[in-house]
Every structure is written in structure tokens, then in C-alpha cells.
């Protein structure tokens, strides 16, 4: 522990959280303030630590499937697929074409639903209650669609080593396209409601700028990095699954402020729609699970070695590190979660801003605390 030191009388400490409406999960910030200006910040995390990494060492690869989507409960499907693909890559399990494409479709829908929740919650932090209702209306359509395929709305465990647990039904493409039409009709409304709103721009422009040097020191990835002008997206940098087949752009903004992070996420949703449309057009027929592949009941053993497997989650670069000693459980599993690094950068970004802006800055990085704490 650090020893308390004599501080000038004009600075004081304010505890923000752990139960604070704007932290979206249990996060405590120890803010040192001079008047309303932040001069120091110490994030206190671990309130939702559930020892996923220890659990992984005591479960077979298949038994760990339900844990995956409980790390980031907003884009859980992407995490679920990431675990399965990491194990498939390690064990050399083939995946049918249809399953690869279906995973992309489901993951991108999950990404949009995660971004929509963020849009609603973030704008609510800034005092705008209306967009929340619009965002949740759209998100509901996506969740219903995902539920019809996976059986779950939040904590998905639908991916299997060698494919998916259930096939997309014959009517799925029609229902998916219906949702896409609904989503696309909404973008202009977001521009009118939010983007051109004077209050929103005043609260967000020029606030909480991430410099490239800070991004490098803290390992910032995902939309916050792209809002600082770096087109880094694992889907392009290290294409996995079926992503290399689709045309899509990596939206970036040069400003690096809160407004840029909002604009990047909105543009990303449009790109996700583009990917889903292409994937639906080229959805191959065929099996969804490799015939005779390792099913959930078989004990799967991986070769000795360490594997790093990276995917782009809704929040940034997610990495799975599996250390195997040849057993049917991981010897060690480590999860490199994007929110962890995106929260760490607050040490450098928050000092100098006002308390009221801290809410905007914190909201703009889209933290999921269970993912930080694992």
C-alpha cells in the first residue's frame, strides 16, 4: 500500500462508484480533485472477478463454453466463437463452410446489438433519454433473431468445436433481412437526433482526447483506437473465420475525442450490416457441424504448446492464450480483454478534465466490467 502523504489543502478525494449509474457495472474511481478539475485518478477494479482463468484450468475445453460469453455479456457470442475457433485451430478441427459463414452473421448481429446498447446507455449518461428507447427497440429485434437461432438472448453458448449446435432455419435469411431493413431506416434518425444535436456536440467534442502515444502505452484497441485515427481491426489485420471474404471498411476519425468514438461506432454498425448482407447472399448449403468432429460429449485433448488467438470483439482486440500440456483441460488460459486496456488509459486521460466530463469520457470507451475483472 502507498503511504498517505501530506497533500495541499485545496485538493480532495472523491469516490465515484462502485455503485454509480454512469459506470455501467461495479467500477470505483478514486478521483483527486482541485475544485471540479481532476488531478489524479485511481481505478479500483475486481468487484466482479469470478476467477474464469482458474475455472478454465479445472474444466474440459467443452465444459468451459458457457463461461466464455459471461466475460463480456454484451458481445458474448463473439467470445464464444473465439474460444471455439482457438481450440479448433489448436486441435486442427475442420469447420464446414456454412458454419463459418453463420458464425460471421451471428457475431456481426451481436456486435450491432452491443453497439446499440452502448449508444443508448452512453447518451443517457449525457442526459439524453430518448435515444435509449430507439436503440433498445432495434436491439430487441436483434436479440429476438439471435434467440430464435441460439436459444439465448445474452449469454450465448451456441458454438461447438467443428461448427454450431444448431443450424440456421430456412426462414432465417428472411427474418435477418427484415431486421437489417429496420436498422438501416434508423441511421438517419440517429443523425437528426444525436449527431447534429448542439448539446451533444458541446459535451463531446474536444473532450477526453486519446493520443497515439497513450494508446500505445496502454494497449488501447477497438473503436477508441480507431477514433484516434488508426485503422486497426483484427478482422482485417489477422483475418479469422470467414472474414477475409467480405468487403468492408474500417471507419476511423482523426480527432480522438468522445465525439469521434461515437461516430466510429455508428459507422461500424453500418459496416456490420454490409458484412451480414454479403454473408446472407453467399450463405452456403450443407452441414453445420463437421461429421464425426469432436462433439460436446467427447473428451478433447490438445497438443502440448501455447496458442495466441485474437479476434475483434465489439470493444477491441480480444486475445485468448491457451497453454496446453496435452491434457483435456487447459494448463493455463489467459484472456486479454480489450476493456482492461481501455480502462487503464484513464490514468493518463482523465487528469486535467472536469468531473462532469469524466462521465462522458468513461462512457465513451464502452467498458464492460465483468470483462475487465474476468
Amino acid at each position: 500500500m502507498t503511504t498517505p502523504t501530506a497533500e495541499p489543502l485545496d485538493s480532495y478525494t472523491l469516490n465515484m462508484g462502485p455503485q454509480h449509474p454512469s459506470t455501467h457495472g461495479v467500477l470505483r474511481l478514486k478521483l483527486t480533485l482541485k475544485g471540479e478539475r481532476i488531478v489524479g485518478v485511481e481505478p479500483v477494479i475486481g468487484y466482479s472477478h469470478r476467477a474464469h482463468e482458474k475455472m478454465a484450468e479445472n474444466r474440459t475445453y467443452a465444459q468451459f463454453l458457457p463461461n466464455t460469453s459471461r466475460q463480456d455479456y454484451l458481445s458474448g457470442l463473439i467470445y464464444n466463437v473465439a474460444w471455439v475457433e482457438a481450440v479448433e485451430k489448436f486441435a486442427g478441427i475442420a469447420v464446414p463452410e456454412r458454419a463459418l459463414v453463420a458464425r460471421v452473421i451471428l457475431s456481426e448481429f451481436n456486435r450491432i446489438s452491443s453497439h446499440l446498447l452502448w449508444v443508448g446507455a452512453f447518451l443517457m449518461d449525457l442526459g439524453a433519454a430518448t435515444p435509449f428507447l430507439y436503440a433498445f427497440d432495434d436491439r430487441e429485434a436483434i436479440l429476438s433473431l439471435l434467440e430464435s437461432v441460439t436459444g439465448s438472448r445474452l449469454t450465448y453458448a451456441t458454438a461447438r468445436f467443428g461448427g454450431l449446435s444448431r443450424d440456421l432455419d430456412a426462414d432465417f435469411p428472411r427474418r435477418a433481412r427484415e431486421v437489417l431493413v429496420k436498422l438501416k431506416a434508423r441511421w438517419p434518425e440517429f443523425v437528426d437526433l444525436v449527431e447534429d444535436n448542439v448539446i451533444f456536440r458541446q459535451r463531446t467534442q474536444g473532450v477526453g482526447v486519446f493520443t497515439l502515444d497513450q494508446c500505445r502505452a496502454w494497449g488501447v484497441t477497438g473503436p477508441p483506437l480507431r477514433a484516434s485515427g488508426v485503422p486497426y481491426d483484427i478482422r482485417k489485420a489477422e483475418p479469422y473465420g470467414a472474414y477475409s471474404r467480405y468487403q468492408f471498411d474500417i471507419p476511423t476519425r482523426p480527432e480522438g475525442d468522445v465525439f469521434a468514438r461515437y461516430m466510429v461506432r455508428i459507422a461500424e454498425m453500418e459496416q456490420s450490416v454490409r458484412i451480414i448482407e454479403q454473408a446472407l447472399d453467399g450463405l452456403p448449403e450443407g452441414p453445420i457441424l463437421t461429421e464425426g468432429s469432436i462433439g460436446i460429449k467427447k473428451r478433447l485433448k490438445l497438443p502440448v504448446g501455447t496458442l495466441y488467438y485474437a479476434v475483434e470483439s465489439a470493444r477491441g482486440a480480444y486475445g485468448i492464450i491457451i497453454v496446453s500440456e496435452g491434457g483435456s483441460e487447459p494448463y493455463r488460459a489467459k484472456f486479454r480483454t480489450p476493456s482492461y486496456a481501455n480502462l487503464g488509459v484513464m490514468y493518463d486521460v482523465l487528469p486535467g478534465t472536469m468531473v462532469a466530463d469524466a462521465v462522458a469520457v468513461l462512457g465513451s470507451v464502452d467498458l464492460v466490467m465483468p470483462e475487465v475483472d474476468r
Binding site: M1, T2, I45, G46, H49, A51, E53, K54, E57, K89, F90, C215, R216, A217, W218, G219, V220, L225, V230, P231, Y232, A237, E238, V304, G305, T306, L307, Y308, Y309, A310, A317, G319, I321, V323, Y331, R332, K334, R336, Y340, A341, G344, V345, Y347, D348, D373, R374
Partner: protein, 175 residues
């Protein structure tokens, strides 16, 4: 030559790498090098200089039989896939130099390694509990840690906190 290979060659040229102490293979990375724990900060400085960002650090319990912790750092670049794994064997009782002066996020990763494995880091600004409750006196990711963690809410899992002898407890013990 890719940026990762170039940097790895540079590290070798500067004499910062060591011969692999283990045959354990690593995949999913562009390059991988073993270094001595004492040169970790120099390696980090070279990586920062070359535009790499700090991606992750994994601590692995290799106490049985090697008596060390394996540290796997990964660094990457934004402009090309250049994941570089830097691996080190850290003897159990020696402090590892902290990278937090070079990469800010290293401070949190090192706090995790300390609380989950008991591995100490020198020159760390604040080596204290990060994810576990303060005052936790066990290191749960050690392979030797198999007991359920003591709970402040439920003593039934914790033998040392068994209730004082009551008639009921004795009945069960002999029953």
C-alpha cells in the same frame, strides 16, 4: 522482413535474448524470443521505440518441476500483423523488473501476476491487489492451490473456521 522479425533480430544482436530453456512451442505469433528477466526493461524500451504496443502478459506456473514462473509477454503493431512473444523464466523467489515505467498497462498485469502467483516485481509503483479483495493471503492460480477460497459469507467450506464444538457437529462427526 516483417517488423517483428526485424526487431527480434535486433534483440539478438544486442545480446538481449537467451537460449530457450524449454522446448514448449508457441503459435499464433509472428516471432518468439526468450530473454533473461533482468533484460525485460531494455527489451520493452526497444519495443516502445519501434512502435509496438503492449498486448498481454501471461504468467504460467512452472514450479513443478522447474521452480520458475514462465512469463509470456506479447507485443504487436497496428500497421501490420507483427505479434512478438517475449518469454522469460522467472525464478520463484527473485523479483522481476517492472515494465510499468515503459508501458503503463504493465502495472496492472504485474499486479495480477503478484496476487495470483506471488511473483514479485521490482520498481513497481503500487504492487498491491488488483482483482482480489485486499488482504487476500493466498495465491489462487498456483497449481498447489486447490482448496476452495475461504469465504467471508460461508464458513462451511473452510475447515479452519469450523464452528466450536456443539452437540450437532459431534453427532455428524461420529455418525
Amino acid at each position: 522482413m516483417g517488423a517483428a522479425a526485424e526487431l527480434a533480430m535486433g534483440l539478438e544482436g544486442a545480446g538481449l535474448t537467451v537460449a530457450p530453456p524449454s522446448e514448449h512451442p508457441i503459435s499464433g505469433v509472428a516471432e518468439s524470443r526468450w530473454v533473461a528477466p533482468a533484460s525485460l526493461v531494455k527489451v520493452a524500451e526497444a519495443l516502445r521505440e519501434a512502435g509496438f504496443f503492449y498486448e498481454s502478459m501471461t504468467c504460467v506456473d512452472r514450479l513443478d518441476p522447474h521452480g520458475v514462473f514462465e512469463l509470456i509477454y506479447t507485443f504487436n503493431r497496428w500497421d501490420e500483423p507483427a505479434r512478438l512473444a517475449v518469454r522469460a523464466w522467472a525464478p520463484k523467489d527473485e523479483a522481476v523488473p517492472s515494465m510499468s515505467g515503459v508501458y503503463g498497462i504493465a502495472a496492472w498485469n504485474e499486479r495480477e501476476a503478484w496476487e495470483f502467483y506471488g511473483l514479485r516485481f521490482s520498481n513497481h509503483p503500487n504492487l498491491t491487489w488488483l482483482l482480489l479483495p485486499e488482504d487476500t493471503d493466498f495465491h489462487p492460480l498456483l497449481k498447489s492451490f486447490t482448496a476452495p477460497p475461504p469465504s467471508i459469507y460461508d464458513d462451511s467450506m473452510n475447515p479452519s473456521a469450523a464452528p466450536a464444538d456443539t452437540g450437532d457437529a459431534n453427532d455428524h462427526a461420529h455418525g
